[in-house]
């Protein structure tokens, strides 16, 4: 543990087990490519042991790494089992590569931060005039839009000539006359539709139905017919008053 003694036991300070391993590897004071993985495993396990004896909280991933390193150590020390893939030597090599890689990125980050940076070492123009892009509208309209617009305006404001289309209707008087005439022979309950003219156009039929309905109400008021309807909008029946 003499090597790791150089590192303060402060588990909080490490950014994960790999970070701790890299720091421990550096204490070997050799190129990362030449470190002794076995010695590194000893350093790490010793460090964790120490931390435990001091009853420090140790995060699970540090313990997982410790277990994996213990497994690696036994693989490296025990006689080689050709069945085990990858071999402990290869695992050790990969661990060494991971440390190299992390170390390389850490150094690259430091070199990046040390470059001449805008706002710290070099400065941009303090008060640039600025470039401007003026949007110029390119108006578009088609000749059809133009004449249709004039038609619309003219239609809206020109004195409108109202032409009422001739439309077949049945007046209320005609309906009263017709219903009174036809109901005289109806002793049974008869639907109101039976009193509408045969072969009428849909328009006339609508007008006749409305007029006949009013006619029936008028005749009922006079006591000349009786009305029956089961519910609102149900068929309306009538017969001559008994």
């Amino acid at each position: 543990m003499s090597d790791a003694d150089a590192l303060t036991i402060d588990i909080e300070g490490w950014e994960g087990p790999l970070d701790l391993l890299l720091a421990l590897a550096r204490t070997q004071k050799v190129d990362l490519r030449e470190i002794s993985i076995l010695a590194l495993v000893e350093q790490y396990l010793g460090y964790i042991q120490e931390a435990r004896s001091l009853k420090l909280e140790i995060a699970a991933d540090y313990l997982v790494m410790a277990a994996w390193l213990a497994y690696l150590k036994s693989g490296l020390l025990l006689p080689r089992d050709p069945e085990v893939e990858p071999s402990p030597e290869e695992l050790a090599l990969r661990l060494q590569l991971r440390l190299e890689r992390l170390n390389a990125m850490r150094e690259a980050g430091a070199r990046l931060m040390a470059r001449d940076r805008i706002g710290r070492d070099v400065f941009l123009r303090g008060a640039p005039e600025g470039l401007r892009t003026l949007r110029k509208a390119h108006w578009q309209a088609e000749i059809y839009d133009l004449i249709a617009a004039y038609g619309r305006v003219s239609a809206r404001t020109r004195p409108v000539m109202h032409v009422v289309a001739s439309r077949e209707v049945m007046t209320l008087e005609a309906a009263i006359e017709r219903v009174s005439r036809l109901v005289g022979s109806a002793i049974e309950w008869t639907a109101i539709q039976a009193f509408l003219p045969e072969g009428a156009t849909p328009q006339l039929r609508k007008s006749a139905l409305a007029s006949s309905f009013l006619a029936v109400l008028e005749l009922a008021r006079q006591g000349r017919v009786e009305l029956k309807q089961k519910s609102p909008f149900a068929p309306l029946y009538l017969k001559v008053a008994s």
């Binding site: 400065f123 941009l124 123009r125 303090g126 008060a127 005039e129 600025g130 470039l131 401007r132 892009t133 003026l134 949007r135 110029k136 509208a137 390119h138 108006w139 578009q140 309209a141 088609e142 000749i143 839009d145 133009l146 004449i147 249709a148 617009a149 004039y150 038609g151 619309r152 305006v153 003219s154 239609a155 809206r156 404001t157 020109r158 409108v160 849909p202 328009q203 039929r205 609508k206």
Partner: protein
């Protein structure tokens, strides 16, 4: 450029990075006392003269600015296609059919007021121009179409605009409310 000495380089950098014009005193606070900053400024002023960027003195303060004759380069125009609004096209149509016509007349024909912006857009588009004042009470300004208007709409002259009878024949004079009524009757027939 001539090789600049260290002091000139520093003054140049300080002026470039400054967010406002600087006095000789401000500059000296950066580059250090004991230099003839004013002499350096005058040398830089001469070096930059005629370039796209010039060093200028305004009262007691100095700053870099882009050369005044290049202002047009810093602005860039970009055309955007835009469709005329309904009010715009109606107003244009009324001017085309009735020119010269005053604003009050346009409003009377449209039956709706027009905003100032509507006429501005038509003039900006180059289709409408002021056409003198009418010799009537209030001497209202009148408007008329331009040659660009004819060119844009592919008309040889205003006489090429379809007349009222043509519009009626094309169904473009059918009042909207009558058209609605017909539609209503049709659907009623379908449901009877």
């Amino acid at each position: 450029m001539n090789p600049a000495d260290e002091l000139a380089r520093a003054v140049e950098a300080v002026l470039f990075a400054a967010s406002e014009p600087l006095t000789v005193h401000d500059i000296a606070a950066h580059v250090g006392e004991g230099f003839d900053v004013r002499a350096v400024l005058e040398r830089l002023e001469a070096e930059y003269a005629g370039r796209g960027v010039v060093l200028v003195r305004r009262g007691e303060r100095w700053h870099f600015e882009t050369a005044a004759d290049l202002a047009h380069v810093l602005r860039r125009e970009r055309e955007e296609a835009r469709k005329l609004s309904r009010a715009g096209i109606e107003t244009l149509a009324i001017i085309a059919y009735h020119e010269p016509v005053s604003r009050a007349e346009i409003e009377a024909i449209r039956g709706v007021q027009i905003s100032k912006g509507t006429l501005d857009v038509l003039m900006e588009a180059g289709w409408v121009r002021p056409a003198g004042r009418r010799e009537s009470p209030g001497r209202p300004l009148t408007y008329a179409t331009t040659p660009e208007f004819l060119a844009h709409f592919g008309l040889a002259s205003r006489r090429d605009l379809p007349g009222i009878d043509d519009l009626r024949a094309a169904g473009l004079l059918d009042p909207v409310d009558l058209a609605f009524e017909e539609l209503a009757v049709e659907s009623a027939g379908e449901n009877a």
